[in-house]
Symmetry: C2
Subunit: 515 residues, 2 copies
């Protein structure tokens, strides 16, 4: 370990910094600009300048937008300006999507206009070789001299949903929410936002960091970490050239909210691919793992795990320990879930005499009297809610997994279809409606009780569906908060396992936050 | 290993068998009955006798159905009979859903009627304790003496989609297809069928084996394995009390088609839960792993992996080796996928000079010249198809993963939405239609080429989507067969890894089937 520590120290070299307060103030303009200039705005479908303008306006951004294009008077109904200097009002953020060789002049114009924040979509910089690297130094210099921060170049964009701002080349439609995402790959970033959206996780903030010429992952980590709306952060990292800044920011933030990271390029094949991708110093995987551990960052292996774990942690509380209580509609799930728990270092305490005595009165005589509690197919909602209450109030468990209690809509729909086929006639739509509503109400009763108990006890309660027809994983209960509703038991266990890693870190610092 | 072999031999005790040919003939009546008697058929919603009748009739079964219920003249429009003996015609299969204590008499009636195949849904046998175990012996004896095979008791049913037969308590709607599933847990079995259906995998046959009083997993493995329609088998196993029969059947079948198995109860928690569930001898996990390896069974860890791997193997060819070629729309995915490949024992050969020379002419100067081939965002379909052809015809790779080439419909839909918001008016539906069709045609061109090359070269070609909005994983190309279309790279790698395990087994026997 001490060798690793030395290596960690060695790669954490000091880098020169703009005054931090100013930097954070300027970064804020990237995510909460009152006005935006789009340099290279276009009406030609497919062009980046078209996509960005369309996504910003179509995404519902409410501030002023100034398209800059010397060849047009109007773009998408807005007045266009020949150059940045011609824009009449103040500009908080410049988004740049013009050929690389024109970016230095655009940067000079931005500085002259008093703009302090930019995002450079344009590619053709360091990622293309020496000439591009030189050009990248030029623009970085102009920005540094001109008191301007910028994301990129070669980024696919940023998102700030609380500000209705989709500054992306790709038309995504994330909802506001407690998850912040930072990605050193544009495609992975897009995919993570899209997954999160389909899963029902709100993404409050996103930054694709591109070549990180000026603003690094560490800066965005610091900024997102400081936002109250952010409940958990997800990082996709290929390499870091600001190890110390990253560690400093991470250490501060993880004391208050979870940071989950994927270090890509873990293997020699992956690391070779990473080198040809972002060109950043990949660093040894072991060093990164050691850094993450030191800084309380929860490490995951794949982008989908990153979305699942971080999305979950932005919505539900962290358990106090590794003890899990399970209730299941059928025995098989209990077996599979118990296996996954034990493989993941989670513990299933045996039921207390008191619980056994209580359930002896309610379940068929041959019920299994162990944890996982097999409800042997009983679908009575009052019984299910009762068992859920027992588990939530049982001191011996820190989190709860409920298998198959909810999520049977596909079966009801098929039942109706079959019934219609058997009877040879369509069911009365009012009857179908009433059935669906009744069914929905029963499921919502379970979810509401789960949300209430989760909020009351600060124990995460995760429901797992019987069915595989939906990508949604969040159920929103207005009065009590969100409940996680997954499609496989192993996802539930994987999330609790990672939350427990974070809990152990907090415990090491005696931090008792229950989020 | 030699100790393991001894243990394997020790648990593979000989069990008495009905003449095997008869047994298989009778099992065939469970899956291809010309007529079915439903003992305990009911019109009371929620009752098993109701659900079974409704699912069989509603599922489209075309043979004769004879409801048996002493209190009714008609059930769901069909003539009902007071007892089995009163049924006028011949009965191939008796499905039994009456209280446990009445099952022995029903069995006697079945035998008297000359019925050779039954399925017993009823629970309340061995799973409930000693008294139930005794009752189970009674019915097993009657069946053995009476030359009748039966699935169950305590099963949730069977499925035979090529015969339009859903003999299930739960209304599932699987499509016909090359996957056969055997499950020792009803709930896991239902979930697997439902997942497979939502993923687009056809399930030709399913059996929930219940208590396995007479027909064991090994019998159904033997039967399903013998069906030409079956291309791959998925087994959920908690325990086996017919180890030798199982090994014999498995060894025979795996020479011709893949068998994928999950042994649940791998840990002490899981094994405890399994004991309280099916009560079957769980056996040590290591022993099972050794058995599986010997018999060429591909082992997986979770039910969803079981569905993914077996579903994939029922649709696409097994690669000849572990060498993977990757093409990707963006660098990040390449990195992640390369990592996953190396972790899984797969190898990414470096590109040949010839391929580099060819692509130098087609990709931007700074392209990465390595495998994964990063197309740096180029979405030109002709270029994509060209690279796919290069990889498929390159001798150095055995399988291909195409990342982000297809699956961008969500972005097109959002683009249209944003465009409408920006312009303040709805787009002409004909224009939207034309856009969607054009987009669809471009994607289908890629899928068709993938299917054609897969069929021509016998190399599996797996596409991974950019988006997370769908659960579908199969694209059907009429002329060339099915292509796999997954939502994460790790799923693609995991499938190839397991297919390679099977390939090594086949190689060990010098079997050159290319499926």
């Amino acid at each position: 370990m001490s060798i690793l520590h030395c290596i960690v120290a060695a790669i954490c070299v000091e880098t020169p910094l703009m005054d931090k307060k100013d930097k954070m103030k300027y970064i804020d303009r990237i995510f909460f600009p009152r006005s935006i200039a789009i340099i290279g705005a276009s009406e030609v479908p497919g062009k980046w300048g078209f996509l960005l303008t369309s996504n910003i306006l179509g995404g519902g951004y409410e501030g002023d937008v100034f398209p800059v294009n010397p060849k047009k008077d109007k773009i998408m109904g807005l007045n266009a300006y020949p150059s940045i200097k011609d824009i009449p009002g103040e500009v908080d953020l410049a988004i740049i999507a013009i050929p690389a060789r024109l970016v230095p002049d655009a940067f000079r114009d931005c500085v002259a206009k008093g703009i302090h924040a930019a995002m450079v979509i344009t590619s053709g910089f360091r990622e293309t070789g020496e000439e591009g690297a030189r050009l990248q130094s030029v623009i970085t210099n102009i920005a540094e001299q001109g008191d301007m921060v910028f994301v990129g170049p070669n980024t696919m964009g940023t998102v700030s949903t609380f500000h209705n701002l989709i500054s992306m080349g790709v038309p995504l439609s994330p909802m506001p929410g407690g998850l912040a995402v930072i990605s050193q790959s544009g495609n992975i970033g897009n995919q993570m936002i899209d997954w999160a959206t389909h899963k029902g996780f709100g993404v409050g903030f996103y930054a694709g960091t591109g070549n990180e010429a000026m603003l690094k992952t560490s800066d965005l980590l610091e900024y997102f970490g400081s936002k109250e709306e952010v409940k958990a952060l997800a990082l996709y990292i290929e390499g870091l050239d600001d190890g110390r800044g990253f560690m400093d920011a991470a250490r501060r933030i993880t004391k208050a909210k979870p940071v989950i990271a994927l270090k890509a390029g873990a293997t020699s094949s992956g690391s070779k691919a990473a080198k040809s991708h972002t060109g950043s110093m990949a660093g040894s995987f072991e060093v990164f793992s050691a850094m993450f551990k030191q800084a309380g960052i929860v490490q995951v292996d794949t982008p989908s795990e990153l979305v699942n774990v971080a999305g979950a942690m932005s919505n539900i509380p962290v358990p106090r320990g590794n003890r899990v209580g399970i209730m299941t509609l059928g025995g098989g799930w209990g077996v599979v879930t118990a296996d996954e728990c034990e493989k993941s270092g989670l513990y299933l305490p045996p039921l207390s005499e008191e619980i056994i005595g209580d359930l002896d009165k309610r379940l068929p005589g041959y019920w299994n009297r162990t944890n996982p509690i097999d409800t042997v197919g009983e679908t009575d909602i009052e019984l299910q809610v009762h068992i859920l209450n027992i588990l939530a109030h049982w001191d011996a468990v820190d989190s709860i997994i409920a298998l198959g209690m909810v999520g049977r809509e596909v079966y009801l729909a098929n039942s109706i279809k079959y019934h219609e086929r058997v009877s040879g006639k369509k069911m009365d739509p009012d009857v179908v409606d009433a059935l669906m509503r009744k069914y929905h109400n029963v499921e919502m009763r379970f979810f509401t009780e789960a949300a209430r108990l989760q909020s009351e006890t600060s124990k995460p309660i995760i429901a797992v569906s019987l069915s595989g027809g939906s990508t949604e994983t969040i159920v929103r209960i207005k009065e009590h908060g969100n409940v996680l509703f997954l499609s496989t038991p192993e996802q539930a266990v994987n999330i609790i396992k990672h939350m427990y890693v974070y809990r152990k870190y907090l415990d090491g610092y005696g931090i008792r936050v229950s989020r």
